[in-house]
């Protein structure tokens, strides 16, 4: 048992460091945010430029095969790269859904010509992809979706609505799950496509989130035509394709990021308690810090266990499934507690007044979404119970019923 790099890992780390030194700006104490001072367009341009650089150096998707611009590398190499890159002002965001979920689905189901056309531009950040699955009436139960695809000659005609589509407003392409047959049980009547987001009839409306930001969208489809050649796998096989995407989602979503123990301890050191001294001396505060520290360490070392299994060529154990269900509520609880420490001034949500403390407010308004996106807390517990512990599935009232005969609720 050790944390040492193997000779190969050490060599890889050295290569990464050398490359980053030449190509990126090292973080200092005062500049930790690559976005500082940039508007949306500038931030995107900067992220795209960085992505192209990474891709050209084959650091963008290290585990992908060489023919697709990867290195055929190991998950540990990806971690090593991430550890090193985190010390530089390297842009993040925009590309994770495409590269983590959509493109792997394309690789599994699109034609060689299509992959030759789409993989490289996605890898280099020239084209951004989004995932068009959830609908007003279908989220956790995404197989209950309504958006219709009807065959018309060599095309399919799409009508319906998607919702919560992250990044749709700046995406170039998307993978789209549709209903092609309402007369069979819901899982059996689905078909997957990919499409150009600029196709006529696609309308994207940003949704304002509870935080006031708008990262996701409603996407409306009105008589949108998709050529049959953009169907991924057979008609009616959409659920199987979607599972490929969703399996990759669990790997892509990962841990919640945001202020953590160090930031909380820093806040607690600098906050005066009712009794005078710094509030970090209060027992209730120390108890909470310890709990979250231990949870965080537990996740970190669980990940190390998973990586070790992968590097030995074993299938990782089920332990990998706990990451988001622990980290997202933890982020919410930790940041709520930080606001509590600020006492009455915790109501302020204004960077000019709060300074660095704003990170706690911002994450506190992001964490609820993290507990929903990519599987809610409840769905993840179902998954652990059923797939890890082997407990029986829920009683299903919809299994053998044709989609069209299912009850439809609030949407």
């Amino acid at each position: 048992m050790d944390f040492n790099d193997s000779p190969e890992e050490a060599a890889f780390r050295a290569e990464v460091r050398e490359w980053l030194d030449k190509n990126a700006e090292k973080k200092t104490d005062t500049n930790t945010n690559w976005r500082a001072g940039l508007d949306d367009a500038e931030a995107m341009a900067k992220a795209k430029a960085w992505q192209a650089k990474r891709a050209d150096a084959r650091f963008a998707q290290i585990t992908w095969p060489e023919e697709w611009g990867g290195r055929g590398g190991t998950p540990i190499q990806t971690v090593i790269y991430g550890q090193e890159e985190s010390q530089y002002l390297a842009p993040r965001g925009y590309f994770e859904i495409g590269l983590g979920m959509c493109i792997p689905t394309m690789m599994a189901y699109a034609t060689p010509e299509q992959n030759a056309r789409f993989v490289q531009p996605a890898l280099r950040g020239e084209e951004i992809w989004c995932q068009l699955f959830s609908e007003p009436s279908a989220g956790s139960d995404v197989a209950g979706l309504r958006t219709k695809a009807v065959r018309d000659g060599d095309d399919w005609v799409i009508n319906g609505q998607k919702v919560w589509t992250s990044g749709a407003h700046y995406s170039d392409f998307g993978i789209l799950l549709t209903r092609t047959n309402p007369d069979v049980p819901k899982h059996k009547g689905l078909t997957m496509f990919f499409l150009d987001m600029k196709s006529p009839g696609v309308e994207c409306r940003p949704i304002k989130q509870m935080s006031g930001d708008a990262n996701f969208n409603e996407v409306f489809f009105t008589d949108v035509r998709i050529p049959d050649s953009q169907r991924l796998s057979d008609e009616g096989n959409g659920w199987k394709v979607a599972l490929t995407t969703l399996m990759n989602e669990r790997l892509a979503v990962g841990d919640a990021s945001g202020p953590d123990i160090e930031e909380l301890m820093e806040l607690a050191r600098n906050t005066e308690s009712e009794t005078g001294g710094p509030v970090i001396k209060d027992m209730d505060v120390r108890q909470k810090i310890a709990d979250w520290y231990v949870q965080g360490q537990g996740l970190k070392y669980t990940k190390f266990r998973t990586l070790t299994a992968l590097s030995k060529g074993q299938t990782p154990g089920p332990e990998a499934s706990i990451s988001k269900v622990v980290s997202a509520p933890r982020l919410q609880d930790l940041t709520s507690f930080a606001l509590d420490l600020m006492d009455q001034s915790g109501v302020q949500m204004d960077r000019e007044l709060t300074g660095e403390n704003m990170q706690f407010m911002a994450s506190n308004f992001w964490a609820p979404g993290l507990r929903i996106a990519g599987g809610t807390d409840e769905i993840l517990r179902n998954i652990i119970a059923e797939r890890v512990l082997g407990l029986p599935g829920d009683v299903r009232v919809d299994k053998d019923v044709a989609y069209k005969d299912l009850p439809k609720g609030t949407s």
Binding site: M1, M265, I289, Q297, T308, E319, I322, R381, L391, P392
Partner: protein, 370 residues
């Protein structure tokens, strides 16, 4: 990176599991719970024969000369079966104290016996209903003898040798006392977990010798307790895993409202939470194992983390296992309370979660300051 036990260590775990599952059934535990015997002597002899007591003791002192990683995998199995033997007191505490600070003659005198299970060791700090801090140590050591009362001492009724925290001219000292010698009296205590005994030890001028440096007793005690915390964390993880498995097995077989209760979401999510806490504890324990086996400077933080996570996991799993069983879970007849008792015992034995959380933050503060 290689954050896992080796194949040999896993083989040892399998060996320990099949041995312990065979020799320590719940009936074995109940016999001690309900009878007058303080621990299961046959099981103890078997464990000694397997070499488990001396896994981390060098061969020159009668042990197997393996390492602490090996001891960790054994500890997990001891926890799974709720073994009614003084393993933690003798191995994690007394043996570790001797290995950490014993003189050659102390080691030669005691380690071979401890490894063979011929002697049982323990460690005595607390003095009744007050926090077990250095300030509250009143037992006193005058250079050659010990006077004072220690309560509650784990396995104090059956131990042959104790490492005792005492006041000395230079501050706090740890002293080694032969409990079968003069000046020692013992009184059994009733506790939450009769499958592991506790005693009050009274010393009246009992012959005692210094172990480690005089005046450095408290920091040595902390060092030993950190090592014990990691080992005990594995025992707690084993217990937690076993309570989870019990809950699962029962839920799968129990029918209510026309279906298995394991198909009810409230039960599924309860078990998922047991699983999550157990895995978080396991991963923290692994980190502790790494720090312990390499004598890393991270040990104080890693040990406290392992202890806090293990307390959380075992406490939760043991308690919710009772609930998953419904009425039968509340009976003497069901085995749920064996884990409930052992979890309460282990979760307090080396100091409570509250105390360790406070210590953990202190250590994080020290690390940040350094």
């Amino acid at each position: 990176m290689n954050f896992d036990f080796s194949d040999e260590q896993k083989m040892l775990r399998d060996q320990a599991r099949s041995f312990l599952e065979d020799k320590c059934t719940s009936q074995t535990v109940r016999t001690i719970l309900e009878g007058d015997e303080p621990y299961d002597k046959e099981l103890w002899a078997g464990i000694a024969e397997m070499g488990f007591l001396g896994a981390a003791i060098p061969e020159e002192f009668g042990g197997l000369g393996l390492g602490h990683l090996e001891l960790c995998v054994i500890a997990e199995e001891v926890g799974r079966v709720v073994a009614p033997v003084p393993f933690s007191s003798s191995v994690y505490l007394a043996t570790e104290a001797l290995l950490a600070a014993g003189s050659d003659s102390q080691k030669s005198a005691w380690l071979p016996k401890l490894a063979a299970g011929e002697a049982i060791g323990t460690f005595a700090v607390a003095e009744g209903n007050k926090p077990a801090t250095a300030k509250n140590v009143n037992a006193s050591f005058d250079g050659s003898s010990l006077t004072g009362t220690k309560v509650a001492v784990p396995d104090g009724d059956v131990a042959d040798v104790a490492i005792v925290a005492a006041k000395s001219a230079k501050g706090t000292a740890l002293v080694l006392v032969d409990l079968n010698g003069p000046g020692v009296s013992r009184r059994n205590l009733r506790t939450v977990d009769p499958t592991r005994s506790y005693a009050e030890l009274t010393f009246e001028g009992a012959p005692a010798e210094l172990i480690g440096d005089d005046g450095e007793g408290w920091s040595l005690k902390e060092r030993v307790f950190d090592r014990a915390a990691v080992l005990m964390a594995f025992e707690q993880v084993g217990g937690s895993q076993s309570a989870l498995e019990m809950a699962k097995e029962y839920a799968m077989g129990r029918i209510a409202f026309g279906r298995s209760i394991a198909s009810f979401q409230a039960i599924k999510h309860k078990l998922a939470d047991m699983y999550i806490k157990t895995e978080l504890a396991r991963s923290n324990a692994y980190y502790g194992a790494w720090a312990l086996s390499t004598d890393a400077p991270e040990l104080p933080v890693a040990a406290a983390g392992a202890r806090v996570a293990a307390i959380e996991a075992y406490g939760f799993a043991a308690q919710e296992n009772v609930q998953a069983h419904g009425g039968i879970g509340f009976t003497w007849e069901a085995d749920c309370h064996l884990h409930y008792r052992r979890a309460r015992n282990l979760n307090l034995a080396l100091g409570s979660g509250r105390v360790w959380k406070d210590a953990l933050v202190t250590r994080l503060e020290q690390r940040n300051a350094a």
